[in-house]
């Protein structure tokens, strides 16, 4: 499988505390992977480094066929290269309607002088409507995003990523605050997305990760403990000790 993103021997410390230690990780095109680990394992820091919010002390992050190093790029440049991110706490623009949120994130020219005169074409609106149906929000598309439920916000943020149409999505705790039915729907939404783009899902919930049925990487204290199928890692003694045993 061709590699889309390769994280190569990355380390970072905050005031002497090593949050990530010599971490290496890679994901291929249209691959779905999950990352699990206890609190403070460095999952969110790992995402911060990939998306450019935090600069690592050393190491490389290589992207795509041309192996572009992401370390010197800004958040918006990395996003334009094709990496989208969903935050742990659903972060949508609460003063805008659901459909306006999707229009804002839609993949289009981001040059301010172009944006000033951008209008939505029919086909673009059709693709937004399709996303609205995929994330089960079509019926309430004109509601203000601040007024919908927590689970719906999670979906809206995933929808915004879909509209952004990235090659790789980093999804932090998509199932937090969801009912069992909503969780199952989220699993099918994610599996559906994975047909056309790569996804890294960070989750706490083992059952949710099991349903995703993908390669799982266990992080602990900033480095990789184990990696493989869910059945493989749940039999690893170290994993049971630090994570499952609790």
């Amino acid at each position: 499988m061709k590699t889309l993103l390769e994280v190569d021997n990355v380390s970072i410390s905050f005031d002497g505390f090593k949050a990530i230690k010599n971490l290496s990780f890679s994901i291929g095109y249209n691959e779905l992977q999950a990352i699990i680990g206890p609190n403070g394992a460095g999952k969110t820091t790992f995402m911060d480094i990939i998306t450019g919010q935090t600069k690592p002390d050393n190491g490389h992050i290589l992207w795509g066929e041309k192996s572009i190093d992401l370390i010197r790029k800004t958040e918006s440049e990395i996003a334009l290269l094709g990496i989208g991110r969903k935050f742990q706490k659903p972060t949508v623009f609460e003063n805008k309607t659901i459909i306006d949120n999707l229009i804002l994130s839609q993949k289009k020219n981001r040059n301010p002088f172009k944006v000033l005169f951008q209008k939505n074409t029919k086909s673009e609106l059709t693709s937004i409507e399709k996303i609205l149906k995929d994330i089960n929000l079509y019926m309430i598309k004109d509601s203000i995003a601040g007024e919908i439920s927590h689970g719906q916000k999670q979906w809206l943020e995933i929808g915004m990523l879909l509209s952004q149409n990235p090659k790789l999505m980093l999804i932090d705790e998509p199932a937090a605050g969801m009912t069992q039915t909503e969780r199952n729907q989220t699993v099918s939404i994610l599996k559906n997305i994975a047909k056309s783009s790569s996804i890294i899902v960070v989750e706490h919930d083992m059952e949710f990760v099991r349903n995703l049925n993908c390669r799982v990487t266990v992080l602990n204290e900033g480095s990789i403990l184990s990696s493989g199928s869910i059945d493989f890692i749940t039999q690893n003694e170290k994993v049971i000790e630090v994570y499952l045993g609790r």
Binding site: T74, A79, F93, K96, T97, L104, P112, V115, F117, D142
Partner: protein, 389 residues
């Protein structure tokens, strides 16, 4: 539903523009030179100046209310616009006067003598006769009009580029803009700043080559200029905030970090808004000061920019007409109270003199409005209308 909303916004904007037009027409018919002489020339000037302040207020509303940058420096751009046009007004008028007086003398004069006479007239007050380098183009109206746009735009660009690139936001940015304003004002207070120190530029109400027109006629001309300026800037800003660009800048206000991860270069958007509002504010200043007649560094002091923010907050930020309502009502009330027109209130043991107490009253009003109505005056009005319906 979105199209419905757009339609109602379009309708409101149209009503607003027609109101401004009719208001200007009404004032013209009530004025001395073109109508029934009901409104004095000085009041026409007050109204014209108020319209210019409204332009500055909507620019402030766009940069603060929509984009979330609390700039405490926009009135500096207003003042700079005034200085740039003031240079031409003063130079041209002085050169006409000097030429006339030299014509009366029998001896022919050289170009150097002419320059010296003009320099002496303008800069004698700060102990100089040389015309400073920055006045090189002061004899050319077109150049100075270009400077009205260029100077505020350039300063805003350099300042904004440095500040936004370093990701200075929130209160820190406000303090930085205030420091910029203070520095500029202190510099202009210097006698060797080339702009006549604390004397500022004066006699700006006398427009060169329009000597045949009376001040009352000129006041009406400038009223129309101000009104057209307000309509023009309202149309521009209204377009910006209704477009997708407007959606981006309100997203910057609400959560700029999130927006970066969608691939928007937030700094460029902020810079664009900062510069365009600075330019429009500068243009407003260039129409304001010929009506005020004088500009000095005190006008640029940080307090003026704070007032601008107060007007927008009182009127209701995040709505263009809110900013206009705030600026118009507060600045008109302010000139009424501080003009000594308001009757003093004797309390027996103490007399409330409005000239001194107005700012206290304004302060209390500001606090009350920010506490009780989040949307300012316009927010109150809207809730009232909803209740009536």
């Amino acid at each position: 539903m979105i199209t419905d909303m757009n339609k109602s916004i379009k309708k409101h904007s149209l009503i607003f523009l027609i109101t401004i037009f009719l208001f200007t027409l009404l004032v013209t018919f009530l004025s001395e030179p073109f109508g029934i002489n009901f409104i004095s020339t000085s009041f026409v000037k007050v109204l014209g100046k108020t319209l210019c302040l409204c332009i500055a207020a909507i620019a402030m509303d766009v940069v603060w209310g929509y984009c979330g940058i609390l700039s405490l420096g926009h009135f500096a751009f207003f003042g700079l616009g005034g200085y740039m046009i003031g240079m031409w007004l003063m130079y041209e008028r002085t050169s006409i006067i000097v030429l006339n007086s030299l014509d009366d003398s029998q001896l022919p004069f050289t170009e150097i003598e002419l320059q010296e006479a003009i320099g002496n007239q303008i800069f004698g007050v700060v102990g100089g006769t040389e015309i400073p380098l920055i006045w090189t183009f002061a004899d050319n109206l077109y150049f100075q009009i270009i400077f009205v746009i260029l100077i505020p735009g350039l300063i805003a660009f350099i300042f904004g580029w440095l500040a936004f690139r370093s990701r200075v936001t929130g209160v820190y940015l406000s303090i930085l803009t205030q420091a910029m304003t203070l520095a500029l004002s202190l510099y202009l207070f210097q006698n060797d700043s080339g702009l006549r120190g604390n004397n500022g530029l004066s006699g700006l109400q006398n427009i060169p080559h329009l000597e045949n027109l009376s001040q009352s006629t000129i006041s009406i001309l400038f009223l129309w200029l101000s009104s057209i300026g307000l309509i023009f800037s309202f149309v521009i800003f209204n377009y910006i905030i209704q477009s997708k660009f407007g959606s981006v800048i309100t997203a910057i206000r609400d959560n700029e970090t999130r927006l970066r991860f969608f691939g928007y270069n937030v700094e460029i958007y902020k810079l664009f808004i900062f510069v365009i509002t600075a330019i429009i504010t500068g243009l407003a200043g260039a129409i304001y000061y010929p009506q005020a007649g004088i500009i000095n560094p005190a006008e640029i002091a940080p307090i003026a920019s704070i007032y601008l923010a107060v007007w927008v907050a009182i009127g209701g930020r995040g709505k263009l007409y809110g900013a206009i309502l705030g600026a118009a009502s507060v600045s008109l009330l302010s000139s009424w109270f501080t003009g000594g027109n308001a009757p003093n209130i004797p309390l027996g043991f103490f007399t409330i003199e409005w000239v001194n107490w107005w700012t206290v009253f304004l302060g209390i009003g500001f606090v009350a409005i920010t506490i009780f109505s989040k949307g300012g005056l316009i927010g109150m009005l809207n809730t009232l209308l909803v209740k009536i319906k």
